[in-house]
Amino acid sequence: MTTATTAEADIVVIGAGHAGMQLVDSLRSEGFTGTIALMEAQGGVPYQRPPLSKEFMASDPDASDDSAKQGVVLRGPNFFAEKRVDFVPGRAVASVNRQSHLLTLNDGSRFGYGRLVFATGAINRALTVPGAELDGVVGLKTLADAGQLRERLRQAERVVVIGAGFIGLEFAAVARASGCAVTVMEFNDRPMKRALSATTGNYCAAAHRERGITLLLGEAVDSLPGDGAKVNAVRTVSGMTIPADLVVVGVGVAPADELAQAAGLVIDNGISVDGMLATSDPDISAIGDCASYPIAGTGARVRLESVQNATEHARTLARVLTGHGSAYDAVPWFWSVQGGIRLQIAGLFAPGDVEVTLGSPEQGRFSVLLFRDGRLVAVESVNRAADHVAARRVLSSETACQALTAEDAADPDFDFKQFSRSIMVDA
């Protein structure tokens, strides 16, 4: 069954990633009865991102060429018909006319909107060194990227990953497990520095090295030499040459805000939105990776790149657009799986936070509690899911956060799970 296409909709959502798909789903479950259209430049069915650098990458490419069987489809085949969403794969928005509430699509046609929602996500930052255009230098963002990279990984022997962020390290762990010689290069002095405390970052560095990954910290790429059209090494700024038949670039992402910027919306590290997720144009909202929003209570702006941020933004906006929403106030949480490291994070780390470690980094099971101005702000857990669960609970309660001091947490008898239960009963 195909859904009818129209030339207008009450709500038009741009982007069928985690944020856009959850929004159209939640709009219907919140009782929205108007028309909905979903625009997505990529062809094919919408898919889940997290497995792309993990299980999907580690799976056998010959097992199936059907994305449904690869375990990454985001919703079932009847989703759009059941939810009455006008969706045509590959139909993209070229420009936005805010005065006339009209979009121009990539086929030149016009499409009207009552409310417009940007759920455009992020795009990979490009490496701009000589040789970056060579064959064998690839990024990882889309399902197509992941499929191509998984195929290349089968032939590869020497892999260099540029950038020790989450995606780069997840991929590095898979590449190492498949038998490749793997080098990860990182400009900073520890991996995942933007997101993680020194204790957790340094633990991950040691754990990856123990599994045989060469981790070069404080090192940058000078150029990518090639043999004809194909890359064959990575040359570093300090003068090293690392042979490579596959170079994976993971140097972060930038918000996909060009269309919004061209439409004249306020941009501030992505599309700037208020607590109700509205942009500087009250008829336009933005959610997920592309949007920077004010953290409830502090007013500081943040832009997060995570599934939870995308889907919680979507659920909040669905409530707002159906008339019973309140300002976004979810506690951010993230996860990563890198070989044997199961990393779970709740809250947001900032440099200068006071660290208290529970458990044992030596045994690969620990949590780092982070305090700022005497208040618990974030918890990083490695192979300690109980602490992560406790952290989500405690961080969602101001009373609970205030009740815990770094001194209490540093007591050898302190049990975070027990604390979370006692305090939540009291609160």
Partner: protein, 111 residues
């Protein structure tokens, strides 16, 4: 052969059958079974594929893992100490496995 029967609190029932082995979470997503979210993609990280296993099938399940046991403490609907599991951790229809069929109840909420 895998057969999964999803029930909800309102008494509605959906049956999913397929040849290849599949988890209770994945089969729900791919077949549009309401009430199972599976936000993390199946890594026992998000606890949004919480289900209650019908008593008859409890003995055939693999023992619960530490991560799954802990994550079940942050489900949106109340945890049942005996029947609650994460759908992503229950594989049905595996060759040589003990579980070709299962009946589960989907909770009223996952988030």
């Amino acid at each position: 052969m895998a057969k999964i029967i999803y029930q909800n609190a309102a008494g509605l029932s959906r049956t999913v059958e397929q040849d290849a082995p599949v988890t209770v979470m994945r089969a729900a997503i791919e077949n549009g079974v309401d009430g199972i979210v599976g936000e993390c993609g199946g890594q026992a990280m998000c606890a949004t594929c919480h289900i209650y296993v019908d008593d008859r099938y409890l003995d055939a399940l693999q023992p619960i893992g530490d991560d799954e046991a802990e994550m079940l403490d942050c489900t949106a609907a109340d945890r049942d100490e005996v029947r609650s599991r994460l759908g992503c951790q229950i594989l049905v229809g595996e060759a040589g496995g003990h579980l070709d069929e299962i009946v589960v109840t989907v909770p009223s909420t996952q988030v």
